[in-house]
Symmetry: D3
Subunit: 313 residues, 6 copies
């Protein structure tokens, strides 16, 4: 497909198609050019429990419908759901949160930088060139983003020279991911400009310097953000407290459990509104058998309503 | 009074009555069950200058009318009033403030936790059981809250496992205290949910873990928050900077002095608006005798207005 | 001109005139009374490249028209402009920002405090008295502020007793500078009151104590704020990230360059909106010759529009 | 016994006797005078598993012989021993360690301070006076120390005005405890002088100010040091990393287990010295059955040697 | 070669031979078992400028003779030498230094851990098992160490559960590397025991917990320590300030330059001893032509002495 | 005096004479070349209470005999002495202390740096050149040091590029000041080399970079170190805790008072050794009248001994 042909399509399809095209053309080679390699096969090997389709680059593709449901998740629900499955490290906080009232949901697209070291970087750049790839920069990674992605970047907490994007590239990321989001263990610049763009973002600091003195060492490889090992394709959920990285195989259970918690909280507050009970008579679960039964019936009814409403969409 | 009877009353009265009932039934025993004891008599011994009535649990009861006036206090006024009386340690800051623009006012209901230690906790729990008390948890304390209380909790700055409440119990505290407030030298969870509930809160951090690895060691005992010794019944006032704990015997003077400061600031800004004076000619007090007289007259007039307006309510 | 005469003028003119009068009467003597001296001649010697007029106290006077243009500057533009001229240290951050969405622009009026030391302070105060000057306090400096000034204060990061102003003096500063602004490497008090006053402010912390245990050691001398040497008369620009101190001789170039960057960002986002390009095809500069030409033409046209619109005002 | 009589005894006995006498005379009253009370009965109630005698003040008295054995303990051994018994919070670090190469061992004598608050302190001091007690100061507590004690003080991390002792009182503590030791979550002063006195000490900081702006609120009550709940009579063991607070009932098991670990480490290093094995063939435990047997025999033999040597003393 | 045969050799040779054997047997497979792979070929590709032999695992082998010379290097010399070659990021500090007076020199053997994540770790462990490898633990990596190695470990600053070794394994590392050394961006345990073992070590903190809640993700892959990208085979030099990671190709030049600096400092101090000169007349370089000549002659003579003395060894 | 002539004198006299010569030749001009000026007259004006001679540069010259006595001072004595005279800010801590067991004593020679700013620095350098002065560098200041000086440097806490000296210049400072000392609110480099040179030093950090990106702005002007205003000529005393800056007029009283404190501590410990007293019976002062008298006599006798011994030297 020529570029000319693309311009005649609608904007959205253009982005989707172009991105897929770029991605596909990169995939066979990118793993050879970056220092830390993690091939499509590696990615599939290390995510064997993925119950969903995969993106062309091998990442698990949590379905859009589940991503939509995840927008209603609360911290308590995710934490409890992850703990059930013995995932105790999948939460990172301590970020500046651009839009505290707006939940971020998307598929992790991971990028790793390491401190610049000319002898090593020269080899990587030569490899990239030999494979017909563009220079290994933040933009090279950004150009591979897909709709629904959240860009997750390990810049090892760097502030000065650790700015993954300014307002122009932030704008591009918003367009390319359809407002997915950004998590960077590093900084951003042009906060004034970025504050006018509608995409969630989590960053450690802000600085006016452009990115520098670092080298891109991996795209869609396992990376570390705070105390979390993030895998490409993880479902990323950010609230006003921090960011959760949910392994794809846990998504469905977390969401189902969350429905129940929603109803539980609804009922709990309703009972508190009645003003007749001590908190311990109602919460965590009712002590009185009659209340217990009342709750069970309420739960059953509300879950049915929620699910039938969901199915009707 | 049976529980059935309670349900026929209005919601508000129900809470008041029920809480008082619970409190009264606990008071004789609670001091024997918790590790750090401070009996009703202790509390009265250590607050001998209290000029007001007392709550059933022995805490001084700063009157509702003074609490209402305290909502208009500014930091400068409280600080100056406390310093006058040689109280130099009654201020704590460094909190996250849930609602920066909303003054928090209430009577301190104090709770202390210490790090879990099974041998000690077992004894305390056995004592509680022997006295017919519920387990010594955060909910046991929360169930004793009264309207007008601010829940003040020493969780020694704990973040992970140091979450005094999530959104459900925060909601209960709001109902039980009639929107009084929360100060915790520790953390909360479910900030998203809590952000939708209308009650001031001051906390050190946010975490998704539930409270754990701690033991409740005291209710309504003297506790430490930052550099402050907080006594049960202190008037708690929180602004967007931090939290003041005002001994009951100082409340009246602080408030009266604040009236004067209000008028002083009003006049000062009015004179600055005139654009004729250097700041030092007007503030802290006018240097010119004529201005001094003008100020004195203004002060007298305005104080009369304020007081007569207050009396007419 | 008598004070009586002043009261018949309009408020604005009064302030301007009175301030100028106060300033002029202080200038010959103030340098002799403060410990760290930097005379009008020193100031002129150390800012020889100033292309603009000077204020009566010797500070370069960046024209109001350029200050107006500077309100549209973004961090990226200033940083790039300063770096071009090898100014790499003229940025300070880590402040609390009172109004994150409001750009601060003004001329630096600098004040330096040092820790109190009675033997030294006594000498300084005696000198001040001997020269007919008021006591060396924060108010003495504040009374010298001019419209368009930003008050820039070195209080060496002091929190307790390091509060340069409360709400009354903050109000005065707002009036005297016509809403210029405040930068203090120290604290303020009465944040509740200050939050109702419409002037940008950058401060390290908030505390209820009044200023104390310090001595004023210099007015309009070179001072240090974070990692910046600030000269009296620097153009101060604050955004939601931090504060830039632009040497007067660099102002014009920074602004002209910014026009171009504005257009560049406008065009970049426009192209991103089209959805046909990878980010690297457009940003930093277009790779395709045709796009490059398109951009050059767009730039030329838009710059003309901007400038003609500016000239017509 | 008259004071004159005491002077004719040997110095050591004098101290012992005098201290006991002082202690005994205080015990019935001290609990009534301090704000946070924890009576002899409370102490006994909360340490029911204590297998040893008790000191006159009710604290468990870990025998001198076990204290002697504890001087050979290593961090690894204590940690493992405590974890076996589910004590996971009994370790505190982050101190300055006066003598890194010298193990501290003793029985916890606890003291709690809280921020000064005149209204409360006045009541406590009046109570002390009414009971014929000296003023509630650091020296009052220090005068109650017994041989074998470690003074453990909660001064809530205070540096300025938080100095529990200078060199004179540190010298006294050394004499009174027979070189037991000091742990303070606060500061000391006169480090130069203290560095010449032979007693282990763990402190947060050093400051030249004397103690002040605090009030003594409890002696031999449960206190918090870092993340540990310390009970009076705990066995305190300090190494160059930090301080362990071992509940008396766990001491014997920890020590017995340590003997085995000592031998294990001895054998492990001996095998490593042979240079024939990978670390994983030997450590944690040997994988080869023959090596396993060799180790078991070595362990048996060495334990017998250690124990018979111990018994012969 | 049988194990029995090994025991008849001398200890040193045994270790060398055994280690080499172990290493060789692992090399083909280890890269397939760890999550982050960096094969022998990758390592050779990314260190093309290595002027020396290579170890069996592909790492550049800086010769023992140069390592010996490196023991005399000072921080200033290394820094200047690296800067000459545009290596500005090869220094890390902020460690606890076990032996401040003892220079550490060795070849980097790198290990990377990431936060535990069961789904990923299970795959890695299954792969290890399938390749006949031992479990992926710290000991597996330690068993691969060679004489002259410094163990360099990325444990992302973890304190609790981040202890790479206790005294037993530290002892083994000392034996296996012939006292090479340890650098860990994480913690160690049993500092008391470790303090008796003669090997340099650099660590972030000390903790009594064993290593846990992490997974080994790479051996001899590029890792990050502070702001440094460390390559396997880098020459590691530690002084009392911090640690330098010198790319092999830069070692020779750094050392030659250091000889000159040694002589320069020798001469500089000699001249200062004469007491006739201002520092600026002598240092950085003499200003007076006669002194300059004197220095040049001294330099020439001393360099000849140093080199002939070196050659004679 | 020619340089040749100097070489025939003894080393010590040479330094003294040369330094004085250099100093004298600089004094009239240096104040004009540095940005922050503080002339010889300013210095005399601001230290009017100085009871001693002055150095040629105008600094008070605390006599050598008093400096000698000051080597025996302890923190407690200085603090108490300064507080008596209302000097509450003259202490700074938080330094790395090179020789913890060695007291530093000397006269403050102050140096101030500020962040580099080319436009300002160019003017200063041009002024220096016009006055025939060397470039404004750290070495220019170091070349002015006198025997008995302590070099006190404000480098605003800078670590990277904030190294006032490496081992060569540290060696020169040691020679020039006769082992006086160094206090820098900044860093040093070459700690290994410096650790072999016998001079006390207090610094914030260590870094391998040379000094840079700063400009020298003042020599022997009032500077700020931590929370202290340091005046040129202050008596600097450093112990293992921190550094005191004693105004010359307070030196004699502090020392006399210290004699008494020495005796007091001597007596206190002697009484504690007797084992007959509670600490509160002896310390702060004896409560028993007979003990009080005993102490007074002891004090009198010992003071006489100390003084006569001192006079006999």
């Amino acid at each position: 497909m020529t570029k000319a042909a693309i311009t005649t399509s609608t904007r959205l399809i253009a982005i989707l198609t172009l991105s897929a095209w770029m991605m596909l053309s990169f995939i066979p080679t990118i793993a050879h050019a970056q220092m830390m390699t993690f091939s499509r096969q590696d990615l599939m090997d290390y995510t064997p429990q993925n119950p969903f389709d995969r993106l062309p680059d091998g990442r698990p593709k949590v379905p859009d419908s589940l991503m939509e449901r995840a927008r209603g998740l609360s911290a308590e629900e995710i934490w409890a759901g992850l703990e059930d499955k013995k995932f105790r490290n999948q939460y990172a906080d301590g970020f500046h949160v651009l839009y505290p009232g707006k939940t971020m949901v998307g598929r992790a697209f991971t990028v790793q930088f390491m401190p610049e070291r000319a002898d090593v970087d020269d080899v990587a750049e030569a490899k990239a060139k030999a494979h017909g790839l563009p220079p290994l920069t933040n933009q090279m990674a950004i150009d591979m983003l897909q709709p629904g992605d959240v860009l997750v970047v390990d810049l090892f907490g760097k502030k000065v020279d650790g700015t993954i994007v300014g307002d122009n590239l932030f704008y591009y990321v918003m367009k390319a991911t359809h407002g997915g989001g950004l998590v960077v263990d590093g900084s951003i610049r042009d906060l004034d400009g970025i504050s006018e763009i509608d995409m969630p973002a989590y960053f450690r600091s802000v600085d006016p310097t452009p990115i520098g003195n670092v080298m891109l060492t991996g795209i869609n490889i396992p990376i570390r953000i705070g105390g979390v090992t993030v895998m490409p394709g993880d479902l990323v959920v950010g609230d006003r407290e921090g960011v959760y990285f949910i392994p794809p195989q846990a998504v469905k259970d977390v969401l189902d459990r969350a429905d129940e918690t929603h109803v539980h909280d609804e009922w709990t507050k309703k009972k508190f509104d009645e003003g007749k009970y001590k908190s311990s008579e109602i919460y965590g679960s009712p002590t009185d058998p009659k209340l217990k039964q009342e709750y069970q019936e309420y739960l059953k009814k509300r879950l049915q309503e929620i699910r039938s409403k969901r199915d009707s969409h």
